[in-house]
Homo-oligomer: 167 residues x 2
DNA sequence: AAAACTAACTTGCATTATGATAGTCACATC
DNA sequence: GATGTGACTATCATAATGCAAGTTAGTTTT
């Protein structure tokens, strides 16, 4: 895809993790993997592709390449704060995938570390605690929105919008 | 990427929306777009690519191709329940993007539709209302997990894991 | 001290996907 | 009859991905 100059936070996310490997690499990094060959074994990815993806994740500020041994020279890839916070998106994917594509039962769940009770992840407003469902909450242009973004997200959508209104 | 047979809900999500356009198409569909040329104009995507992506989203159960006019024959792409629920992942991306890549200010925000107050989206457990942060919550293998998944997610990670434990 | 091993990559080349442009087809409207 | 619209398909150049093999800098084994 051509490089885009966009304000949309979704498009910006896609620029960073919008290929087929980056999300899986970050999933593994969030799980605790840090080394080149760990990722390679876990993902079955070709080494040249892994190199490219790791470099791009470093460039976009998701990972950091850190030398952890001088003799021999060895490197590991550590999550940056932004990369660590990508956990929220991964967990949203886990929850969504479990809701719709786990016909033979759940193979991955989120549980309370102490009690072991299964958690059911939903998005809420941190202040009010209310779930971010439609039509109670809307997506609108923010203070720094460009004219294009304003035009798009401050007017009513062309047809019934799910981001704005329940169908 | 080669077709994978995996249980991981993250990988399953990536199979469906792991290319550079699908997430943006779904973003637009969630906004309310349904027609071929609406997507084309909005995204600036080549028509042959759009055809392929729409077909793949229909195949994977995210969209439905529905004829809304017989004379002339006209079609639109409607979100399935799974596609509509993908809103949760998109909102997680919006929140994450806003937290880390909106240095010049927010261009897209989620607000209370009535009061207009800005919402701050976080993931919580729907039952207890507690935020799904580490180390209070862990990701573990579920009842339908394969041996590979069990081995991976029921044992302690190789190094400190963010999915499991705070760094 | 040579041989094998490990981690982290490159290089070369075939295959596949993407992207730009142009063209098609069934209608509808002027 | 000419032009317009919606939803594409076809062709071909460019770019990305994938596989296999090779490289480099060291460490460990025999």
């Amino acid at each position: 895809m051509a490089k885009r100059v966009t304000q949309c936070p979704v498009a910006r996310s896609v620029e960073r993790v919008g290929d087929e490997w980056s999300v899986l690499i970050l999933r593994d990094a969030l799980y605790g993997l840090t080394r080149f060959d760990e990722f390679q074994k876990s993902l079955g990815i070709a080494p040249n592709i892994l190199t490219r993806r790791l470099n791009s994740l470093v460039e976009t500020g998701m990972l950091e390449r850190v030398q952890y041994s001088e003799h021999p020279p060895r490197f590991e890839y550590r999550l940056t704060p932004a990369g660590r916070d990508f956990r929220t998106v991964v967990l949203a994917m886990v929850a969504w995938g479990n809701r719709h594509f786990a016909h033979e039962g759940l193979s991955m769940i989120i549980v309370d570390a102490k009690t072991g009770e299964v958690a059911d992840p939903i998005l809420v407003d941190s202040k009010s605690g209310r779930p971010l469902t439609t039509p109670e909450f809307r997506v609108v242009a923010g203070p720094a929105a460009s004219d294009v973004m304003k035009k798009r997200y401050d007017t009513l959508p062309p047809t019934t919008s799910i981001l704005e209104t329940a169908k």
